[in-house]
């Protein structure tokens, strides 16, 4: 199948979203830098957002009866805004963490471990 000619469907978007999501998870799972983890979270949120947009898009599937319509964009908008807020708070926490631990290595933040 020639990908340039074949039309794009919902599944394709979902796959991209999955890849972003998994990349984000990987990022969170492998980075020791607080900021790296933060970036992983951003990727995860974007993967999810892409799904919302795709499910709500009027262009991606023939049968629109199950489309979530404008709600998809709405939720995505809220996600974006909350992600910004989350980033601000996470960054503030990271800064404080840096001030107290003089490092950004999350592995050092294990004072509460069992």
């Amino acid at each position: 199948m020639n990908p340039l000619v074949a039309p794009i469907g919902l599944s394709h978007y979902l796959v991209v979203g999955s890849i972003l999501f998994v990349c984000g998870v990987l990022c969170m799972a492998t980075k020791r830098n607080v900021l790296g983890v933060l970036m992983g979270i951003e990727l995860v949120l974007n993967g999810a957002n892409l799904n919302f947009i795709a499910f709500g898009s009027p262009m991606l599937r023939a049968d629109q009866s199950n489309s979530i319509g404008l709600d998809g964009q709405m939720i995505a908008l809220f996600v974006i805004v909350l992600a910004a807020a989350e980033a601000a708070v996470a960054l503030a926490i990271a800064l404080n963490y840096y001030h107290t631990h003089a490092t950004v290595d999350v592995d050092q933040a294990n004072e509460l471990k069992g």
Partner: protein, 206 residues
Amino acid sequence: MDAINWHSFFFLMCALVACTFAIAVVIASNIVRMACYLVISLAAVAGLFFLAGADFLGAAQLMVYVGGTMVLLVFGVMLTARGPFVSMKTGPAQWLVALMAAGALLFVLVQASFSIPAWAGPLASQPQPATLPATAEQLGYGLLGVRADQLDQRDAVARGGLSGYLLPFEIISVHLVVVLVGAAYLARAKRRVTKLSTNTAGSHKP
């Protein structure tokens, strides 16, 4: 030959960029480079939003994520990175475990994406972007509590239920304020420079 499908073409471009740089974020060890790749990846995602007919979301993604969040990140990087290259290596065993888990997740997700036939089938004739509704206004109305896209709902009761997102919007805005104040407070170092002594004027002639 078949006429090229521009939608597919741009989708492929953006998707490739987004995925490639997302993977680059995972692989890169320098935090600034990670940030840079992330910005590019997110910008490509914004492109995907545009392609899916969500212009406003795309622009918001660019503005908020790339313009705002990422600069915040860069700030954080600058403030916390001692020297330009800070990398904290993760052990190969952890990589392996993480990759296995992530691979399983990816498999499950992709499998799920293609498992519904209705999702794979595209629109027989895709609407041109020009004919699409202006979602920015609809979003605006939605935030004000009117679902402009649902006014054709025949069931009056159901229409009443579709009352938009005014309350979440209000909550989110308050939430944002709280978060920003909290973040500002958290990041404050509560330190003051001691007041420097300034010479007071004396007046004797040389």
